[in-house]
Symmetry: C2
Subunit: 363 residues, 2 copies
Amino acid sequence: MAGGTISFARGAPSADILPHEAVRDAAARALAEDWERALSYGTGIGHPGLCQWVAERHGDLDPAQVMIANGSLEAGAMLFEHLLSAGDRVVVEQPTYDRTLLLLQRLGVELVPVPLEADGIDVGALEAALAEGPIRLAHIIPNAHNPAGCTLSSAKRQRLVELAAEHGFWIFEDDPYRELPFEGEPLETMLSLDQADRVVHASSFSKTVSPGIRVGYLAGPAEQIGKLAKRANETYISPNMLAESIVLDLCRSGELDRNIDFVKAELKARCDALVAGLGEQIPEAEFVVPEGGYFLWLDLAEGTDTVALLGEAKADGVSFVAGPDFMIDGGANSLRLSFAPVPAAQMSEGVSRIAAALARLRA
Amino acid sequence: MAGGTISFARGAPSADILPHEAVRDAAARALAEDWERALSYGTGIGHPGLCQWVAERHGDLDPAQVMIANGSLEAGAMLFEHLLSAGDRVVVEQPTYDRTLLLLQRLGVELVPVPLEADGIDVGALEAALAEGPIRLAHIIPNAHNPAGCTLSSAKRQRLVELAAEHGFWIFEDDPYRELPFEGEPLETMLSLDQADRVVHASSFSKTVSPGIRVGYLAGPAEQIGKLAKRANETYISPNMLAESIVLDLCRSGELDRNIDFVKAELKARCDALVAGLGEQIPEAEFVVPEGGYFLWLDLAEGTDTVALLGEAKADGVSFVAGPDFMIDGGANSLRLSFAPVPAAQMSEGVSRIAAALARLRA
């Protein structure tokens, strides 16, 4: 079919918005000015300069509250292994990031599903879950949710932090899309609201620089970060010091902020085109309009089987991820569209292929 | 004291032998010619081009037998988690790499210590351990052992592979120093001798490029590598693709081999100077003269307490790692000297400081 497969499946940007020239220039500078640090072993915290930069980016953190890691997924996995034991009750949003579900299932914890609303997690349902027994940790994706596209309201952020302090559970604030709101500034982090040392925040340069550079971080109570950095050191000595030196150069030179502005504009154009295409071609689709990030979560009419739809869609040269992948139960009539990999000019064609597959599924 | 502390402690090269200009040039080429791969997510195997290169470097491996990882320590940790369960009997050499001991202890396996001889593991003692019950895995460092400095003989390599096939245990061939023999070519790997799919080989570019670049690999039976790559993908999506693209450029351009020649000559000069200094200044020292790598393992007179000696030595501006760190039991009169971080011109001074500390300890 025309132009090959259009994939809405992967949570990754298309190559045309990867800042390869900026990274090349940053690598040249890092390997001229910071080569000894970049090429030597570090410790479990990673590059101290990048810890310092992240601490400043978050306002007034102590650099001892930050550790840099090889992407935030592995950092989160280390946090889970550090804090959780088999049988612990762990709140997961529904839908939620499929890779997190897998990591938690591997640890043998009891998953406590809590639904999402248009403004983030259903706090009433979370309180009901707390009433049934102690919660050890809640995994929360606050901004431009993967896969749901929603953003947690300010009031709910405040309430979650209060509940964590009151009930003594951990909040894992998993926040890779924070820097990518389409308009205005992001809301305050739960980390910044936390007075009780119950929040560990994770973020990443995968969406603001590029995924292949594999640099993410944790920020939280210094005592926990210290223990996690020791665990990181025991596992891999230090994370990738060269990549972190390059990222630090991008941060300090202003290239990071320039790239964030560029990427946000591109993503907004893609999201706008997707929303317009859906309105025209799949009017039954219900969704929260994303205010940032990569993802749009779509509910089709009750009874639609999105796994079967995906089979049809692939034959039409389009792909996405079916809803059940992000759910413990359910999601049968839902699906996730990632607009990050699809240039705006291809969006209408991509949606029309899904619409055609849907029509054929129901024929 | 003159010139600051001389540290024989860390298994890492001094900065003057890090190939920063070659890495800078390779980064520029990788980010011009391979930027899309370098900046995008890969899969659990890492950079396919580097898998291919490693497969060729090992003779005739199928690239599906190779996965690239963020250093060989973490790759080994994943292998242990994949193959081992609490209570499994695991053979460790004595002395052995302290970080491996820690990883194995974390898994709750039963460590079965087997002594080293001048030509590697005591195979008779290993056979005695096999007679006492099944062994699940043997961790073997074949070349320029860390910390013992010895190299496993060809006959013992053959015998270990036979025993693994006969008794059905895994050999983890942990081989970061393979490319650094001071003279001639390295002996054949156990991987290359294995006909029974019982050997998983690990190596690294930490010693041939630089540690901060954090690129290592596993090579072994395709079925196991496939499972491990899936586990890697679940843990960190892909390893660092940018670092791997840079390493691949160094490999293909010939810079890797040029740097190996340079580093081997530097390490040989350091080792020769250390051996000469010990002969002159600490004649009681007994050791296997290293034929490559980074380390020399020293036995002092019976009754010497090297932990106490280290305390004295630090006051004299010299450090090393005391023997007990590498042993389950014993090692009290032994110590490890890493010559990689000490330029040859400082070697005599470093040894004289240890000799002075030893004299004071006994005074």
